[in-house]
């Protein structure tokens, strides 16, 4: 019992608030629109949210490191395209699918390492570097595809995102596995501890013998790998790959991490908060769909929520400072 109360004390208020919000939407929508509880709706939620959820994890670790990763969508598309091209060239066998996926992850990690190297070694603001990165990776993707989408991917591949294991979409399983892996990396490894310390104060971490360059490169490499995994899921889900899929995801992932309590100045942020925030936003998104709200209103709402949440966080912080 003691353990449980301790756990709730430790779990930050942000995650709790998000949980309450999610439950509210769930109940409200469930009562007014029974379709919300329908199997198809639950299924489609579980297929959609891993794509940007995994991207949000990449954004999250970059932000904990004191930076930001705006190149994630570019990495996702580039990796998806590389995988697609390899699969088609090699005839769409199961082996080729495996090679395609491995190559995509490799591409993602290389892009991330490049970001991390420029940020850590040349000491250029992450925002600028990853903005350039987005342009570079999207540019490479465009060079490969010459514009139109790559279609006709093997059926086995498209089953990854659309298929199920024990009734749960495979994407959702991948998402949960990544969340668990991330919890382990952040809370139980030397890398995680160093990452939080570096994000809090880069100079002090250097003066404590932490190799900032290595941590930065690892962080962005990991973020790049997450980008490529999201890219594979996207390509599999749409059964095609294109250089400008998911452009709205950059803002969405930023919204998720800020909403989930990750500090944009670095050093703070928990996996639980981000997961809760992903769930909440997916529920809002589904609710919009069921209520047949225009997709553009959703874009508007994302921006509005981002602004309202940061304003609220600021106001509470101010109030606490006064007390």
């Amino acid at each position: 019992m003691q353990k449980i109360t301790n756990y709730f004390k430790k779990a930050d208020r942000i995650a709790l608030a998000l949980l309450i919000g999610s439950v509210l939407i769930f109940v409200l929508m469930g009562v007014t629109h029974p379709k919300f509880f329908g199997k198809s709706n639950l299924q489609s939620m579980l297929i959609q949210c891993p794509e940007y959820g995994i991207l949000a994890f990449g954004m999250m670790i970059a932000m904990i490191a004191g930076g930001i990763d705006l190149s994630l969508v570019g990495i996702a598309n580039l990796s998806g395209i590389v995988a697609a091209v390899l699969m088609l060239r090699m005839g769409g066998t199961n082996l080729s699918i495996g090679i395609g996926i491995v190559a995509a992850v490799l591409v993602g990690s290389l892009c991330g390492l490049f970001n991390g190297f420029i940020i850590g070694f040349l000491d250029i603001p992450a925002m600028l570097v990853t903005l350039c990165g987005l342009q570079l990776y999207s540019g490479l993707a465009l060079i490969i595809t010459k514009g139109p989408a790559i279609t006709g991917l093997p059926e086995t591949f498209s089953n990854i995102a659309n298929g199920k294991l024990l009734g749960v979409p495979i994407g959702a399983i991948v998402f949960v596995l990544i969340a668990i892996l991330l919890c382990y990396l952040l809370y139980y490894t030397v890398f995680g501890k160093s990452l939080y310390l570096m994000g809090t104060n880069k100079i002090a971490s250097r003066f404590s013998g932490i190799n900032n360059l290595r941590i930065t490169m690892l962080t962005y490499c990991l973020s790049g790998i997450f980008g490529s995994l999201a890219g594979i899921l996207m390509a599999s889900h749409y059964n095609s790959a294109k250089s400008d899929y998911g452009t709205s995801y950059t803002l969405l992932t930023l919204l998720i991490v800020v909403l989930g309590g990750v500090n944009p100045n670095g050093g703070r942020g928990k996996v639980m908060g981000v997961v809760m925030s992903i769930i909440l936003l997916q529920l809002v998104s589904s609710a919009f769909n069921i209520l047949r709200v225009n997709a553009f209103v959703k874009t508007f709402a994302w921006g509005l929520i981002l602004i309202l949440v940061t304003t609220a966080t600021y106001l509470t912080a101010q109030k606490e400072a006064r007390d």
Binding site: L197, A204, S205, F207, N211
Partner: protein, 494 residues
């Protein structure tokens, strides 16, 4: 007797329940150089803020040129010619010298347009007045600290300063620059401007001050002409204790812990050699530009040595990064505690284990319990007053925070501990504690190097002192052979 510019009577100031000033009287006359001396926490920065109008005193009277000012605020203070130059100067690195000098006046006169020609003329005139020579069109980011200070002084002059307050103006200056600054301050004094310097370095105080006020624990201890003071009285009134004549004299040992052979780094120091035996607390001193601090940075791999060899316990080692240094069990308490030493917004526990995280990675995960235990233990062993290991380091006082930096390194089980300015900004009690810790560590067989410009600290706690001058070793002396004044002469003689 010169006329009085500023008079403070019975100034009290409290924050919450804490009394920072307890009835301070202060008189500053026109055309004098007045030194305000006090250790950290003595209330001198609060007093400056009262004078500059940033803090309103809880009780007391303020008179400027004989007129009682009831509610002094920064704008009224500036109108009366009170100008403070803080340690960071509050200047703009991205603007030119001329603009920096002319900016404040232009803003205060409500000018709408930028007069570049006027700004240049004003800047040249101000520089002429204090005898400084700088290109008015150069960007301030290209200037040295001393020249940035000149820009700040010029700016106060064109704002018709009558009282110029400088907060520890010599802290980042080289010896030549200090002399130049003093020449300028004397020149200002001769024009009838009152100058107040906040400083507690004995030699500098005796060199420049005409009158002296000593603060301790928020109270004025004494005021008087400088010739009424001697070294002993100054130190006694400043610290509240007599100068102790006890030295640190460890048992002689032949076991060598650390040796540097002709180490050098371009532009910082060259041909530095010394050796450290078991039990030694080894002091390194010198003026700011002597290379003393750079030796610490180099041995810890921040800016590594480029020539020479270093040996730890007889084995030659290579240090090219801070990671190398930690691997070889070299620990470094850096000069700037707030930005280099601590993670202010993180817990005491995170700070304590920051340099030894990998130690707790057992069977695939970090052992939270062990980290917590280690922190609790260090808090106790090092005498740190802290609410709990989870408390943020920001809540700690300077002395307790510094103890955490030391604990961070002791937790790595170091072979060599280098401390750069270990007691800067630390109150007297914690300073004493830290000195005791250093002696104890040396006794336990850890090599201890103390880099400092606090001469009494070195004389009392080290058994060898290396004096640096212009990047080279000037002398290595035993504290029992020298006194503070002799040591100061060694550092600065040409």
């Amino acid at each position: 007797m010169a006329e009085t510019f500023l008079e403070l009577k019975d100034i009290h100031k409290s924050f919450g329940g804490v009394q920072a000033l307890k009835g301070v009287d202060l008189t500053i006359r026109c055309g004098e150089i007045h030194c305000l001396a006090g250790e950290n926490g003595s209330g001198k920065s609060t007093l400056i803020k009262v004078i500059s109008g940033a803090h309103e005193p809880t009780k007391g009277e303020i008179y400027i040129e004989g007129e009682r000012i009831l509610h002094l605020n920064p704008i009224i203070a500036i109108e009366h010619g009170i100008q403070v130059i803080y340690q960071d100067f509050a200047i703009f690195p991205n603007l030119t010298v001329a603009e920096n000098i002319a900016m404040n006046r232009a803003v205060s006169t409500g000018a709408k347009l930028m007069n570049w020609k006027g700004a240049r003329e004003l800047a040249l005139e101000a520089m002429e007045q204090i005898g400084a020579k700088m290109d008015p069109d150069v960007l301030v980011e290209n200037l040295s600290v001393a020249n940035r200070q000149m820009v700040a002084i010029c700016r106060t002059i064109i704002n018709d300063a009558k009282l110029l307050i400088l907060d520890e103006p010599t802290a980042a200056l080289t010896s030549k620059e200090v002399q130049k600054l003093y020449a300028i301050l004397r020149r200002l004094r001769d024009k009838g401007i009152a100058v107040m310097i906040v400083n507690h370095k004995l030699d500098e105080v005796f060199e420049i001050a005409e009158r002296l006020t000593i603060l301790r624990n928020g109270e004025k201890i004494s005021t008087g002409m400088i010739d009424e003071y001697d070294r002993n009285r100054f130190v006694k009134e400043l610290t509240g204790r007599n100068i102790s004549e006890s030295f640190y004299e460890p048992k002689a040992s032949e076991e060598e812990i650390f040796r540097a052979e002709n180490i050098g780094r371009k532009g910082a120091f060259e041909e530095v050699s010394f050796s450290l035996k078991r039990g030694d607390v080894f002091g390194i001193t010198g003026l700011l530009d002597s290379g003393r601090g750079q030796i610490g940075d180099a041995l810890f791999g921040i800016n590594p040595i480029q020539s020479g060899k270093i040996f730890l316990h007889g084995k030659q080692i290579e240090i090219n990064s801070t990671e190398d240094a930690v691997r070889h069990k070299i620990a470094y308490v850096p000069e700037d505690r707030l930005t280099q030493g601590l993670f202010l917004d993180r817990s005491i526990q995170d700070n304590t284990i920051a340099a030894s995280i990998s130690k707790y990675f057992i069977r695939g995960k970090l052992d939270e319990q062990a980290m917590y235990q280690a922190t609790v233990e260090w808090i106790k062993r090092i005498g740190c007053v802290a609410p709990s290991p989870e408390a943020s380091v920001r809540t700690l006082s300077g002395g307790n925070a510094q103890k955490i930096v030391i604990a961070k390194w002791l937790n790595t089980d170091p072979a060599l501990l280098i401390l750069n300015g270990p007691t800067v900004g630390v109150d007297i009690g914690a300073k004493y504690d830290i000195h005791q810790i250093l002696r104890r560590l040396a006794g336990e067989g850890i090599g201890v190097i103390v880099i400092s410009d606090d001469l009494p600290e070195l004389i009392q706690n080290c058994n060898h002192i290396l004096v640096m001058k212009n990047g080279r070793v000037s002398e290595i002396v035993e504290p029992s052979e020298v006194n503070e004044t002799e040591l100061a002469t060694m550092m600065s003689s040409q």
